[in-house]
Symmetry: C2
Subunit: 412 residues, 2 copies
Amino acid sequence: MPILVMKFGGTSVADLDRIRNAAQKVRREVDRGYDVIVIVSAMSGKTNELVGWVNQTSPLFDAREYDAVVSSGENVTAGLMALTLQEMDIPARSWQGWQVPLKTSSAHSAARILDIPRANIDQKFAEGMKVAVVAGFQGISEEGRITTLGRGGSDTTAVAFAAAFAAERCDIYTDVDGIYTTDPRITKKARKLEKIAFEEMLELASLGAKVLQTRSVELAMRYKVRLRVLSSFEETDEASGTLVCDEEEIMESKVVSGVAYSRDEAKLTLLSVADRPGIAAAIFTPLSQAGINVDMIVQNVSADGRTDMTFSCPVDQVLRAEKAMNEARARGEINFDELAQDTEVCKVSVVGIGMRSHAGVAAKMFEALKAENINIKVISTSEIKISVLIDRKYMELAVQALHDAFGLDKAA
Amino acid sequence: MPILVMKFGGTSVADLDRIRNAAQKVRREVDRGYDVIVIVSAMSGKTNELVGWVNQTSPLFDAREYDAVVSSGENVTAGLMALTLQEMDIPARSWQGWQVPLKTSSAHSAARILDIPRANIDQKFAEGMKVAVVAGFQGISEEGRITTLGRGGSDTTAVAFAAAFAAERCDIYTDVDGIYTTDPRITKKARKLEKIAFEEMLELASLGAKVLQTRSVELAMRYKVRLRVLSSFEETDEASGTLVCDEEEIMESKVVSGVAYSRDEAKLTLLSVADRPGIAAAIFTPLSQAGINVDMIVQNVSADGRTDMTFSCPVDQVLRAEKAMNEARARGEINFDELAQDTEVCKVSVVGIGMRSHAGVAAKMFEALKAENINIKVISTSEIKISVLIDRKYMELAVQALHDAFGLDKAA
């Protein structure tokens, strides 16, 4: 039998009715002839409740006990889903992570999956079971302790199972019906993509299109697991949602696939820094140690042995960044005249694997922004992405203009 | 190090404050030099919520999935208790049933404990851990599935651990401060017992003093585990609560230790039953198959080959009992003229190991009831117990009279 992995997130199993609704979708795939592995999250809100209890009990908690507590939510939904399927006369049973066993590293609360032996579940499929329901997000360490994979880890569980069982596809049921060319709240012209390449999805995810956990997309890309994102709350068929796949499966792709944004960015500039070897390390090491997520970095042309160093980070990390820089200066590690701040900026990016083979994307982007009189403050590029920092008040305008400029409202 | 087992029920771990309070009691025992095994129930209400979900999902549920779901509540409290103890700088960790492993039969949702290997926990004690926190009520079957021991199974878990680890004592923390000579709501003269024998506790528990699960007392009696019942919500010391122990530990015991009652009983009489060999089986087998908890049974003296058969059962099972008897008559298995019912009765019992060596307890009991003009409808006796069925309206009066008659308000 071909195997299909189906993953249901917290809102998709938030109560018994929704679990029944999800089970109907599983039944449809069983009827089509699949053996199905279902990965479930905890009912929405449950994991947050458990995390809250742990934090209240012990602010610097033992991550092993944290994992033992917070993994319990998935166990509940796994059992309830198996029971719901049995009520529909579908042979099903639940597995907790340690029962599979889903083996992980011992990095508690951020464990990496090491191995998913197939024997136990394969045997049950051979005996006539049609659906294996697996509690997502959790595994077992070599020491026999329960581990968790970090928030959103159920997506990663699903992809790992799809890879281990050579599944035909991994369907991620969630509360959106697919991946869009941009946020439909910003422009009604946003269009659902039929397909998107793994690399593009990674850029979109890390840029704020929070549909899939980044790690799960990386894993899918490595093992070439075809991922489909689709809605739990609509009638769905084989053409629903968006397929995240290898770029070779995408015949005719546009140069740009989507426009992403990140609203609350800040731009910091260290003015008049001594331009010497090692200065970048002297600046960014203390920032990293302070937990600052530095994103874009630009170094000005040097003059008289001095330069300006500009970087961006989330706006709520500015105070910490400032403190880290002042402390580094006090320790004599760096020297600068001033730390200029602009906390009213946002980041807008265009993403597309087609950029690799098409020149002129940057020029077209800058033209479109210029036509709206939007000033670009920082530019950064990768193989398949161009990002700019601009004033936050122009964010929606920029997204709309770029969406139009690259013709994203029209099918490829 | 001597080992102590401490068990905290659902109300004792109902929220984070109460878990902290319980942890203080654990700390006191660690300070006294014990290695402690703590058995926890789920936060009160949690198990009922999970059971409710299972019943709503699947009225005839797969007990294996039921167990997987309902065991999750204990996992949460075990982790939180371990974290709370760690916050107090007490080396502690949690164990789920399968991690110990607490091995059980495969009778899901009513599993029997088969074995508790000590190696894992002993090793941690040897490494300096002071407290092993174990999720109560759950274990693992030979097939690697999660099992549960039935409601109240955490008491049984605690006693089984105390037996396996040769613990000095098993302290059951609950919402009452001990075992009383009778229900203090019925007479203010009720007195807390310092000690009570296993056999007496069994009679009291099965008669409605619902402090300890009957099974846990049986297990304690078999392995001579000294059980102490005491309050989570009061300051407690080594003399608190009631010790349930072997009768040899009780030097001076009264003839009668307590007066128990069961309010909602019914008395049923099959009139004019053919008195032939096998008639009792013909009556009580269908009752048992219908799930009727028959308690007292009295057969009248036979006359003309016919007799009357009287039995008692909980009042809410009368309809089912009636149906079972009428069906047995319809199948020609039994014959009777009428099924007389008295649904306005209760049972009152006096219990005490001293009865074995003292005559006259029954006479004294009947005198005391007669003095209050209370008519006895059925009598049944065991080695250490005498029970009577009387009109329900006299229940409180009878309990008070018997409590006085046997001098239970005075210390032994």
